[in-house]
Symmetry: C2
């Protein structure tokens, strides 16, 4: 097993940092090969801009926007050109090499404003470029996404620390349920790019853990790392598996009358 561990916490001596250390130890003891992207330690550049794309970025004129005009920075198509011509910046290409190597990716972060810290969002914004992580077509002309695509065959798991008490991110909790809060990442990013997504590991009340709670969190994490290659992933529907119509809307006879993120589960 080749595991890439992405860590996005500013403080290595945090609860998150301790869980990362325990997690890496556990994986190595299992005989896994482990590499890490410690984004704060790497001083990862969070912000997409023209510098990412080398000569592929149009320097452009100063003409104002017009519909259909292409003489400006269009992130998707420019990133695809830069990927195909090898002009992406070195830091992005280094992450691609790690992802090519990995069969399993752990995405670890503290929940900030019910999402990823900016440094981690910027890892996805910059690394998951068109051509590498999405925008690949099948032989029948359909776009490979949601269960198919360049990263299909790899597994991903989110490891989360959250300040909120568990009930508040459970069903009907005031902050919204964790599955819904993570939908843009787990479904809209990881599954979109083809990865199988394992249920997340969530540690709540992060700034107030007792020694007993800490021990329990470590034990739960170790258990989940031992079953990384065997546990069933979240059963998201495949885009091209027949469940969605030509407009990519769920067929009326599936989860009839319902809406919400849950309808995208088998």
């Amino acid at each position: 097993m080749n595991v890439l561990w992405i860590f996005a916490h500013p403080e290595p001596r945090s609860l998150g940092g301790a869980l990362r250390d325990e997690g890496l130890r556990t994986l190595r003891a299992q005989g896994a090969n482990v590499r890490e992207s410690d984004l704060y330690a790497m001083k990862w550049k969070a912000v997409v801009d023209a510098d990412d794309f080398g000569a592929a970025a149009h320097s452009g004129s100063a003409a104002p926007f017009e519909p259909g005009q292409s003489d400006r920075l269009i992130v998707g198509s420019t990133s695809k050109t830069a990927f195909e011509t090898g002009e992406l910046s070195d830091d992005i290409r280094a992450e691609h090499e790690k992802l090519d190597w990995a069969d399993t990716v752990i995405v670890q972060f503290p929940l900030w404003w019910y999402g990823m810290p900016a440094i981690l969002k910027g890892w996805f914004d910059r690394v998951f470029v068109k051509g590498f992580a999405y925008g690949v077509r099948r032989s029948d002309g359909k776009t490979s996404r949601y269960g198919e695509g360049a990263l299909a065959g790899k597994r991903a798991m989110v490891l989360l620390t959250a300040g909120a008490p568990e009930a508040t991110i459970g069903p009907r909790g005031v902050n919204g349920e964790i599955d819904d809060l993570l939908f843009p990442l787990q479904h809209g990013t990881l599954w979109y790019a083809g990865m199988s997504v394992l249920p997340p590991v969530t540690v709540c009340g992060a700034d107030r853990v007792s020694p007993e709670q800490y021990d329990a969190a470590v034990e739960a994490l170790r258990d989940r790392l031992r079953t990384l290659s065997t546990r069933d992933p979240i059963p998201f529907r495949r885009q091209n598996g027949g469940d969605y119509d030509e407009d990519l809307v769920l067929r009326a006879d599936l989860a009839p009358g319902r809406s919400g993120n849950g309808v995208h589960l088998l």
Copy 2:
């Protein structure tokens, strides 16, 4: 009306940039006072780190994590101390001054991986610090959040450009419904801090708009800007309005048997 317009697109000559220009013109023609935070133009620092907090950030020892230990960077409490002692970095304090001035905030961005670009997430991570945007207690000891709090009385509206076709982010669309994708921002951030959140303005198929579609998008935006101060906000439930129990879980007799983000609407 004092409007702060937050713009998070790397290319001013984009569809987003054109809508921003039209929006600012429309507001000024209405007699509104307008200020802007153009995050790419400002080279906004996206990443929270100890430099944000001046002397309030613990330089700390190299001791490993222990539960209960405080000698490390704890973002929430450190940001609160730095806010109270005036030690937050100049760029954060400048945004606080703009927010204090504004009664209305427009949050404009292209949808990247079903969320905000990192530069904008980092604006919330760094500007919405404890003490300024959350973590304020009422006289009865309850925490002011979700409809109450330091930013209560202000209005916010998201203006979004998205590459995806409209049906795919509509009800039962493969990408998830836009209300769900925006829940962490609209509910978990803006409403959390007390702001009233107006329904978003969403322009789909952003890289492929025809001149007719562009004209329609501008007209829709102008209409929404004309009704900024009168339109009903999204009817999110208040945390302390009696709908949630002591664990902050929705009472069983409200939206009985249901779950999902929709239960947090009146």
